[in-house]
């Protein structure tokens, strides 16, 4: 099957480095971000947040605050009693806490006042009496301590979710292996740190309809949540997502501040704006889960995997957020790079009294990918295999189904590995595992890692049979085209992708096109900018809408020119006869013809992912229309006296399928490398413990992220192996290239100085401690040495495709105790 949109004609737009359709506005200060919106009579909202990590709310006294001149309204939890949450299975948040706060930063009251200063003063006049509760500050505590319970739901005590899946008989696989190895890893949590703080403006009109402008990656889900919490018909609510000043997953949940400003606007009858402070953005979080992992793999002497068992323990923070999906994601994609014939996954997400974790770039997969790729490096050393060979030899084949029922389409990882190995001169730098044959000086090291990521999730977040993406086109009789889609540009270029694809199909210039996106009143639903779904899904929907319009224009033009319809071609703003290119019409004339014949020209397109072959409980997470692949080699310089790791260069190859715009693909690869570099070297969300679970440094200065001085040189290769499910063969690039970076650096650090840092981030303190242990002749590994003792549920057993399985779990055998 050919990729959709491949019309056997020369591509004029796709594959070309056009500038983004919104780029100039961003460079002259014209783009309106949420906080740039100012409406007449607008009030300002501040949110009072808990300063205690876990406490009952005994009393809230608003008297003094309400008496302050300039205060228009104050709301508390009882004003918004209906819970919500991004996943149907965890509707556990309230816009404002009702009887209990669960982390430092949990919202308690919201003020609307004449200006921000008055709102701030009023916030300080609100009296809240708390009764402190004991806190749960770690995965270990959550597993051990049932009381107090942070939430009254979940899989017992402070365990939010426990899952257990087994594909094929893992014990049998381990028995066949020549080597069975087990390792523990810990990946510290970190946060998105978008440059734009979340902001929202609500406007309540005289028809009692509400409009919310918000920096959200998921206007459709915000729309749904508002309808539920405000108890209003969704048709009376309009959500407009403003261009996001960076998202990375951190603006994907419906947020309390969005609900609060809507309610305050309804009460006061005036527009209300909220803009979070940087400190509050740290409390919004929904970032990378801290994950403790145990990985056990059986391999043959040549490195072929016979079985793998993976356990993950996620510190979820105080609410569900995307956590159930995150938990499954820590176990889903281990099977899509190297052949894993039997696979077992056990995952546990704990509630703790910290800001909630959720989806950050790579959602739940960078942690296990780091563990898997470092583990594989250790196996290679034990088997005395080259780390390149052990990967390259056992790749998953294209067009196959994995043990956990993920359907692989195109698979360019082999080519990716070849590129980075050649580019980095791996063969002349990696000297084998025997130190006496070293080619690089001590302190310099090289490491490799590979990865894969989904191009959108196979299933929507809430169960339905509708398309995941819709596009609507309107053609103007003077030659303009308007494309409307619910997708939201968070900087990745999704608005531009729509324009490029429509321009390609209709033979016009991308800058002839007006793009209207992310407005629930005007645009058909697209589920949002998450899970790397947008290029593939909106792209396919845009192709369908544009091809339908093209068909109408072609029919009208063919009739007028008296040539067969298959002769009609579209290019350079003309519609013409391919055999006599000078015979034709301008694009605008063709629209006039078509409109005269068929009426107003408007078409729609939609996209629904193919059905997944998996059909077991939990099979909703992992399936995707296509998987992107990446390979990276890192070269590092480790100073043995200070432990400071400098990443000098990263070679990265990404299997993009087909670049709709290579320049934007390059930007996503470089940005992903950057974010992976920050995670492996410095970024961490850490808290003071001992019952007082306060974020250590909720500021940009103290939360270390790479500046220009830490960013490494990046050598990028784009591998184009078109995928049949992608628009023009395109796959994702926004998230995947982050994944190989942390393990490649970790493996390079080991190659440089011979110490294994099995905990992310690799800080100078950890490296130095390991080097000192090594100098004393002791075990120099730095990392976790135990996992909590947990009673796992009996796993769902699923026969693998190789065993003749049908994708369903086997019936459970009744167990009598």
């Amino acid at each position: 099957m050919d990729p959709k949109g491949k019309n056997n004609h020369k591509l004029n737009v796709v594959g070309k480095p056009f500038r983004k359709v919104d780029a100039r506005a961003k460079c002259v200060g014209q783009t309106k971000f949420a906080d740039d919106i100012v409406l007449p009579r607008m009030l300002y909202c501040k949110i009072l947040r808990s300063h205690l990590p876990h406490a009952l709310i005994k009393r809230i006294d608003l008297t003094k605050a309400l008496a302050l001149p300039g205060v228009f309204a104050i709301i508390t939890g009882k004003d918004l009693p209906i819970p919500y949450g991004i996943l149907p299975v965890s509707q556990d948040e309230h816009a404002l806490c009702i009887d209990k706060v669960r982390f430092v930063g949990d919202p308690v009251a919201a003020v609307a006042a004449i200006d921000e200063d008055v709102a701030f003063d009023a916030m300080n006049l609100i009296e809240v009496e708390y009764e402190p509760l004991n806190t749960i500050s770690s995965i270990e505590e959550a597993v051990m301590i049932d009381d107090p319970r942070i939430h009254e739901y979940g899989d017992g005590g402070n365990v939010h979710k426990k899952v257990s899946l087994e594909f094929g008989n893992v014990q049998e696989g381990f028995a066949e292996a020549d080597l069975v190895r087990e390792d523990l890893f810990f990946y510290e949590g970190n946060t998105h740190l978008p440059m734009e703080q979340h902001a929202a403006v609500a406007h309540y009109d005289s028809d009692k309809k509400i409009t919310l402008w918000s920096s959200t990656q998921t206007p459709h889900y915000v729309h749904r949540a508002l309808a539920k919490v405000l108890e209003m018909p969704a048709s009376h609510i309009r959500v407009i997502a403003t261009p996001n000043g960076g998202g990375f997953g951190g603006k994907s949940d419906p947020f309390n501040h969005e609900v609060a400003v809507c309610k305050l606007a309804m009460i006061t009858g005036r527009p209300v704006k909220v803009t979070l402070t940087r400190e509050e953005v740290f409390y919004c979080h929904r970032g990378r889960h801290p994950v403790l992992m145990k990985i056990k793999t059986g391999v043959k002497k040549d490195g072929a995997i016979t079985a793998m068992a993976f356990q993950s323990f996620l510190d979820g923070g105080a609410y569900g957020s995307y956590g159930v999906a995150s938990t499954f994601y820590t176990g889903a994609l281990q099977t899509v790079t190297y052949d894993v014939p039997r696979y077992k996954f056990q995952g546990l997400r704990a509630f703790t009294n910290k800001p909630p974790c959720g989806p950050k770039r790579g959602h739940g997969t960078p942690q296990p990918r780091y563990a898997l790729e470092v583990h594989l490096d250790k196996i290679a050393e034990q088997l005395n295999l080259d780390p390149v060979e052990i990967r390259q030899r056992h790749l998953v084949a294209p067009n196959t189904v994995t043990a956990n029922y993920l359907r692989i389409g195109s698979m360019g990882l082999g080519k990716c590995i070849d590129k980075v190995v050649e580019g980095s001169d791996w063969k002349n730098k990696f000297s084998g595992w025997n130190g006496s044959t070293r080619k690089l000086p001590f302190g310099k090291g090289i490491g490799i890692a590979c990865s894969s990521y989904i191009c959108g999730a196979g299933l929507p977040i809430y169960w339905n049979n509708m398309p995941q993406s819709g596009v609507q086109l309107r053609l103007d009789r003077q030659g303009g085209v308007c494309v409307m889609c619910g997708s939201i540009d968070i900087g990745q270029g999704s608005d531009s992708i729509l324009a490029y694809i429509v321009a390609e199909v209709l033979g016009i210039d991308p800058f002839d096109i007006r793009v209207v996106t992310a407005d629930t009143d005007l645009t058909p639903v697209d589920l949002g900018s998450y899970s790397s779904r947008v290029t593939l899904m909106t792209g396919n929907a845009a192709i369908q809408a544009a091809e339908r319009a093209r068909e109408l224009l072609a029919m009208a033009t063919a009739e007028k020119l008296g040539v067969p319809i298959e002769n009609i071609s579209f290019a350079e703003r003309r519609v013409f006869d391919v055999e006599n290119p000078e015979v034709g019409l301008t694009f605008a004339e063709a629209v006039v013809l078509a409109e005269s014949k068929y009426g107003t020209i408007g078409t729609v397109g939609s996209y629904t992912p193919p059905r997944s072959p998996g059909n077991y409980k939990g099979s909703g997470v992992g399936p995707s229309p296509a998987y992107s692949y990446s390979a990276a080699v890192a070269e590092v310089d480790v100073d043995p006296d200070t432990g400071i790791v400098v990443v000098e260069r990263i070679w990265i190859a990404h299997d993009i399928g087909k670049s709709i715009n290579p320049m934007l693909v390059m930007g996503q690869v470089e940005g992903s490398v950057y974010m992976g570099l920050g995670e492996i070297l410095m970024e961490e969300m850490t808290y003071r413990t001992n019952r007082n679970v306060v974020h250590k440094f909720p500021s940009m200065l103290e939360y270390k992220s790479p500046t220009t001085m830490e960013m490494c040189d990046v050598k990028t290769y784009l591998i184009e192996d078109p995928d049949p499910n992608g628009p023009y063969g395109a796959k994702e690039v926004g998230q995947g290239p982050l994944l190989p970076v942390p393990p490649a650096v970790a493996n390079a650090v080991y190659n440089a100085v011979g110490v294994r840092i099995d905990e992310v981030p690799i800080t100078p303190e950890k490296v130095l401690k390991s080097l000192r242990e090594k100098a004393r002749g002791r075990d120099s590994r730095y990392g976790p040495d135990s996992i909590p003792s947990v009673e796992w549920p009996e796993p769902l057993r699923i026969l693998t495709p190789a065993e003749g399985g049908d994708g369903k779990e086997l019936p459970r055998v009744a167990v009598h105790s």
Partner: protein, 172 residues
């Protein structure tokens, strides 16, 4: 009782008067009292570089400067970078090379880069890195920003230059 202070200064080349509460930062005065929302904020604590503007030609963090201190001085914001409808070469190259992804940090980077190119018409990559080291960008990994600055510098020197092929399509 009047609660507002009044200043007169040159803003993007125009004599401007504005009244505001005296505790307001220049960032707040620009955004809230003069409706110039092109200047962004990322922390309002002087940590991220996002709110950079030029005061008397020097880049400063407008979140750390009181509006009152702008009295009598020359302030340039992103809105004043283009000449008429003609974009500054840096604005063109930032747009053309994909140096602006989400675009939120772009105004700050653009003004710091303008200051750099005034002082040094042909900066090395290392000099660009040092000059931009006070500005955070979470999208680009800075690389497309360096390339945009280099391209604009070449244009401003009157040289023909295009981005290297590997910057746009990757290495072969």
């Amino acid at each position: 009782m009047k609660t507002k202070s009044h200043i007169r200064f040159k803003l993007n080349g125009e004599e401007t008067e504005v009244a505001f509460s005296p505790h307001k930062t220049l960032l707040e005065v620009l955004r809230e009292d003069l409706n110039l929302t092109g200047t962004k904020h990322g922390c309002e604590l002087g940590e991220c570089g996002t709110c950079t503007v030029l005061v008397d030609g020097r880049s400063i963090l407008s979140c750390l400067m009181l509006g009152l201190e702008a009295d009598g001085r020359e302030v340039k914001t992103i809105e004043g970078m283009a000449v008429g409808a003609e974009l500054h070469p840096l604005q063109q190259t930032f747009a053309d090379t994909g140096a602006a992804q989400c675009g939120y940090c772009s105004p700050g980077f653009l003004l710091v880069a303008e200051e750099l190119l005034k002082k040094n018409a042909n900066p090395s990559r290392a000099e660009i890195q040092v000059a931009l080291s006070g500005n955070l960008c979470r999208c680009t990994g800075y690389i497309k920003i360096y390339e945009a600055v280099e391209l604009a510098a070449a244009k401003m020197r009157g040289e023909e230059m295009e981005l290297p092929k590997e910057a746009v399509f990757g290495l072969d």
